[in-house]
């Protein structure tokens, strides 16, 4: 039986991650809690808005209302990485070779490991930002499409157009596809080799959580009463194929998804705080956490796929041990 070790904090949890197998919980007020031989807390941003897990560097990158970017290490060390003035930093991403990217207003910034910062002006607001898995390349989600920049060179950006407001972005792990979340209840995708479009619509709500399965074969998403899982094995992605619908519930919406690190299994968080896991092959479900006080906002598996750390909008967080 799965067991839950709870951590109750007053506030909205934005990110729940493992750093060196230590559970971390980042809250909207900028406090970062961790369970490392007891409950410890450090303060990063004065108002947290977005986070990115930098798995390669084993750190959590945070940005927020104070216009600053911080990194939090597994031992709780907080370091200021960048500052963008008085504007809110509303998106952040972690890339290869210690680089990070962040967006404030109509500017995207890339900060390299040596501290050098490069800035990219856009005609409209930077809504979301993502690093490509290989090479120094970022995608900026914006109104009417996405822009690809190559920060290490002075090359011209690549523009990907699709009408509507794009609010977030993610590259497939093989770098072949870019997928954006939209203001409408839909995802949009581009096959980068030829610019082919992929429309993924039919959601009853906005999609706020995306997670690629092991080897990038599937993309799981929130925004419906089930986790919607799109097949990306084919060379044209999910076009012409129906997605899997996992963990369907009649009375709740999926708010967060996280794929298992090595198996085709997804952890699904709902707006009532329930967490369950579902296997792609046979849609078999396991209840991991009963409903709590508020919507699940953050989920992450540890490297072995044995524990899940979760956070909610009401602060009732915890660590699920699958084996109990």
């Amino acid at each position: 039986m799965p067991t839950v070790a709870p951590l109750d904090i007053d506030g909205h949890c934005l990110a729940a991650v493992f750093l060196n197998d230590i559970p971390f919980f980042a809250f909207a007020d900028g406090a970062v809690h961790r369970l490392d031989h007891g409950h410890k807390t450090v303060q990063a941003n004065d108002g947290l808005l977005c986070t990115a897990l930098d798995a390669a560097a084993n750190r959590l990158v945070t940005a927020g209302e104070d216009g600053k970017v911080f990194s939090i290490r597994a031992d709780g060390t907080v370091e200021e990485l960048a500052s963008a003035g008085r504007k809110w930093i509303t998106s952040v991403a972690a890339g290869p070779q210690g680089a990070i990217a962040y967006g404030a207003g109509r500017y995207a910034f890339v900060r390299f490991a040596d501290g050098k910062v490069k800035e990219f002006a856009h005609p409209r607001s930077v809504e979301g930002i993502a690093f490509a898995p290989k090479g120094m390349r970022i995608a900026v989600a914006r109104y009417n499409g996405a822009t690809l920049h190559f920060p290490a060179t002075d090359g011209k950006p690549t523009e990907l157009e699709w009408a509507g407001a794009h609010t977030g972005a993610t590259f497939s792990p093989d770098g072949a596809f870019l997928v954006t979340t939209m203001q409408e209840n839909a995802l949009h995708g581009w096959k980068l080799a030829d610019g082919k479009h992929m429309r993924m619509s039919g959601y009853p709500a906005k999609v706020k959580s995306l997670s690629w399965s092991t080897k990038g074969k599937w993309l799981a998403s929130s925004g419906a009463p089930a986790a919607i899982v799109w097949p990306f094995q084919g060379k044209d992605g999910p076009m012409g194929k129906a997605p899997l619908e996992l963990g369907t519930r009649g009375d709740a919406m999926v708010t967060c998804v996280a794929c298992h690190p090595s198996e085709e299994v997804v952890a699904i968080g709902y707006d009532d705080g329930m967490v369950l896991a579902s296997r792609f092959a046979d849609q078999k479900e396991v209840l991991l956490r009963r409903p709590g006080k508020g919507a699940v906002t953050a989920l992450m598996w540890d490297g072995e796929g044995r524990r899940i750390v979760f956070g909610t909008a009401t602060g009732d967080c915890g660590v699920i041990d699958i084996a109990g």
Binding site: A28, G47, R106, A163, A165, T167, Q183, E184
Partner: protein, 339 residues
């Protein structure tokens, strides 16, 4: 607990450069009124107050990808409101300041069209500041100044000390011609009583009607209304440079099976021309008054309260917009009456 109690009220402040918005904002931020406001501005610039809850945001007008040309939202507000509401308890209400030239419609529509914003906040009122001295000039050179007035629930007629009583009366008549339903407050140096601007509940249909027994009765009850017009007629104003018109309709009890398809069709077809609509409808065999309001193609309605004994079961509807065919609206409205 009702939803309305947990939703944070949002006041939208519009007005041309020089109309006194910054002065009013500074008062909202600094006066001791017992409420804390988060303020979303386009530029920190002139606000001389250092406050964590002043958020600078680039106005981003996003067309929705649903084929509806007037369905626009302020994308930046969606993001900022989401961020602010993750830490409730820091403030009691939100004020959104728009730039001088801003179209107030996308701001208002954001609070109806985005599910996340809608679940956490509610539009309280759209307040337009008007510079009494320069309004005639503004109306000549821009459509936006007129739109801001036409769209407002509250008009603060500011800088009244810079004009003669006759000029003031003329300016007020112009405002009233553009918007027959707004509350007008005359003031100097943005000195309006903040209670007249904040926490108005103007978009809360039930409250708007309760607080203002003369809701939709602009003509009858004066409101300093200086031009004369019948109830059933459109009145493209005789005042120069005013292109917005209002159409006030009045009829008896309606047949709900006719009225709802009609209002839906009107808002679908005429939506781009309708800035605001407000109404109280009497349905046949319905003991309750039905109130409704709309912004372009978005329309909302609800039962308000039971008709009182002796109260006339009458349906009233006001459209504020441009290029409205008053005669056709009147005829088709009357055709919805119950047999």
């Amino acid at each position: 607990m009702s939803e309305a109690q947990t939703q944070i009220p949002v006041t939208v402040l519009t007005g041309y450069l020089g109309s006194g918005k910054t002065t009013l904002l500074n008062r909202i931020l600094s006066e001791n009124h017992g409420r804390r406001y988060a303020v979303i501005v386009n530029e920190f610039g002139e606000i001389g107050i250092d406050n964590d809850l002043i958020v600078e945001s680039d106005e981003e007008i996003y067309e929705m990808n649903n084929g509806c040309v007037c369905c626009t939202v302020r994308g930046d507000l969606i993001r900022v409101v989401e961020g602010l509401t993750r830490r409730p308890g820091r403030f009691d209400a939100i004020v959104v300041e728009t730039t001088g030239l801003a179209d107030p419609v996308p701001v208002a529509q954001t609070f109806f069209m985005d599910d996340d914003v809608r679940s956490k906040t509610r539009l309280d009122a759209v307040v337009a500041l008007v510079d009494a001295k320069h309004l005639p000039l503004r109306l000549k050179d821009s459509k936006e100044a007129e739109d801001q007035i036409a769209f407002a629930d509250v008009v603060v007629l500011n800088k009244t000390d810079l004009v003669t009583p006759e000029e003031l009366a003329a300016v007020e008549a112009t405002v009233r011609a553009i918007n027959p339903t707004a509350k007008i407050h005359r003031t100097e140096r943005s000195g309006v009583d903040l209670a007249n601007v904040l926490d108005r509940g103007a978009f809360d249909l039930k409250r708007a009607v309760e607080n203002d027994p003369h809701f939709l009765d602009a003509e009858e009850h004066g409101h300093h209304d200086h031009d004369h017009h019948g109830h059933d007629h459109a009145h493209p104003s005789a005042i120069h440079d005013v292109t917005v018109q209002s159409v006030s309709l009045r009829a008896g009890e309606m047949d709900s099976k006719k009225f709802f398809p009609w209002i839906e069709k009107v808002t679908q077809l005429e939506g781009p021309n309708i800035l605001r609509l407000k109404g109280i409808i009497a349905f046949k065999d319905d003991p309750d008054r039905y109130v409704l309001q709309g912004v372009h193609m978005i329309i909302e309605g609800d039962h308000q309260r039971a008709w009182k004994d002796g109260e006339k079961h009458e349906s009233r509807l006001v459209f504020i917009g441009r290029d409205l065919d008053a005669e056709r609206l009147r005829k088709s409205f009357e055709a919805c009456q119950a047999a």
